[in-house]
């Protein structure tokens, strides 16, 4: 169980805005996160990952406290072991597809499995600037999965994929999440995208 109760002041177009989130995420659940642009969806994911600090509140994962402002506890992103898919993919321009995955894990069998899920087997020696937008996005997803995380935070992870590729990949991911026992939080603007697989909903803003 991941229990979140946090507050963060956001500098928004309209002035200061308070992002307040109180929510529990059941292990193995897939939560779809929606909300208008600039409402703080990305900030929320980054706070969970330990990349941005909330102003106050707590984040607990099972019995471990990840963040507690009052006790001055703030676990580093490295220790939270989260899989994160960035909206801008954040691929490393110097690394090939294979090197991205090898940077994250030594498990060759797992790397090969991921490559086949992402249909990137024939592109292992390509660097990101020689991949299409959809391939780059798939690589970002695979890299996030490489460490076999228990919590996956995905910031619009399917936006660059065509419908056919998307539905095939989502099916594969769903099975993978079950295998890993992973909890997933997915920011999505497309209402139909996660139909049938998301088990919970979180609306941020408004």
């Amino acid at each position: 169980m991941i229990a979140v109760e946090i507050e963060k002041k956001l500098k928004a177009y309209k002035g200061l805005q308070i992002l307040l989130i109180k929510k529990q995420f059941i292990p193995g659940s897939i939560t779809r996160i929606t909300g208008p642009s600039g409402a703080g969806k990305t900030t929320f994911l980054k706070m969970l990952a330990g990349l941005i600090n909330p102003d106050s509140g707590t984040i607990k994962a099972g019995n471990t406290i990840w963040f507690d402002a009052s006790q001055n506890i703030n676990l580093s992103p490295q220790k939270r072991r989260i899989g994160f898919v960035f909206q801008d993919y954040a691929l490393f321009p110097n690394m090939t597809v294979k090197e991205h995955l090898e940077y994250a894990t030594n498990d060759t069998a797992w790397i090969n499995r991921l490559l086949s899920i992402g249909v990137l087997e024939t592109f292992t020696n390509h660097k990101p600037n020689h991949l299409s937008g959809g391939q780059q996005q798939r690589l970002a997803i695979l890299r996030a999965l490489a460490t076999k995380p228990k919590l996956l935070l995905m910031d619009e992870p399917f936006s660059a994929l065509d419908i056919k590729m998307k539905s095939a990949l989502i099916k594969e991911l769903q099975a993978l999440f079950i295998g890993l026992g992973a909890t997933a939080l997915i920011v999505s603007h497309n209402p139909q995208e996660l139909d049938g697989i998301s088990t919970a909903e979180l609306e941020i803003g408004d």
Binding site: L51, S76, Q78, F84, D88, A90, P93, P128, T147
Partner: protein, 223 residues
């Protein structure tokens, strides 16, 4: 032609560039992260040699390291090192004088990398050092090379600072730029021309190769 000043110049430039790579990289990285008032002050100090007359810098270095007083006296008494009229003095002055040429391009290269690159690396469990070594550093390589070449070339071209702190001691502090001046003073235009031509050629080739390399690298999405 006596080649000693040329060799001395190349040695000085190589050592200065090496030292600045070692100090400059971590310093530029640190400066590229969150801004603070202290960092702005430090950056201003590092950038000053770009606009300060070299003789002013040389004059203060001469005062600071003069073995008759203060710091210079203490260094001589304690470690038996003398920075005035010595090769190590030239190195010290060159490191300070050429520092902006190393720091500034490397710093802006670090700043141009999206923050999400380091963040992605952290979420994969990698430390700051691993992230620096395997993610950030390889992606600023073109800028690092440019900075190193410019630092080297700029050190070749030093005159004022070197003359102030090093003087004109053959084989010790008489670098090529000073040999040119010295030859002209002695009305030996042939020697002056020889030294000048060597400096001119080396500098031209270096600057040209930076331009060629950067044009080739411009295909990279980060440039």
């Amino acid at each position: 032609m006596d080649l000693t000043p040329i060799w001395l110049t190349l040695k000085l430039a190589a050592i200065t560039t090496l030292i600045l790579l070692l100090i400059g990289l971590p310093l530029a990285w640190w400066l590229s992260k969150k801004r603070s008032f202290v960092k702005i002050i430090i950056e201003a100090i590092i950038t000053m040699p770009l606009v300060l007359p070299p003789s002013v810098l040389g004059f203060y270095l001469l005062l600071a390291f003069s073995p008759q007083r203060g710091l210079g006296h203490w260094l001589q008494q304690t470690f038996d090192v003398q920075f005035v009229f010595s090769f190590q003095g030239l190195v010290l002055a060159s490191v300070i004088y050429s520092m902006p040429f190393m720091i500034s391009p490397v710093k802006s290269a670090f700043q141009q990398l999206p923050q999400s690159l380091s963040q992605a690396s952290y979420t994969l469990g990698k430390s700051q050092w691993q992230t620096f070594r395997y993610v950030l550093l390889p992606n600023i390589k073109p800028s690092l090379l440019t900075a190193a070449v410019l630092t080297f070339a700029h050190t070749l071209g030093e005159f004022g600072v070197v003359l102030m702190i090093g003087g004109n001691i053959p084989g010790v502090t008489r670098v090529a730029s000073i040999a040119v001046y010295d030859s002209v003073e002695q009305m030996n235009y042939t020697a002056a021309n020889n030294y000048s031509l060597v400096l001119f050629t080396i500098t031209f080739v270096m600057v040209l190769s930076v331009f060629i390399y950067n044009k080739y690298q411009a295909k990279s999405p980060l440039e």
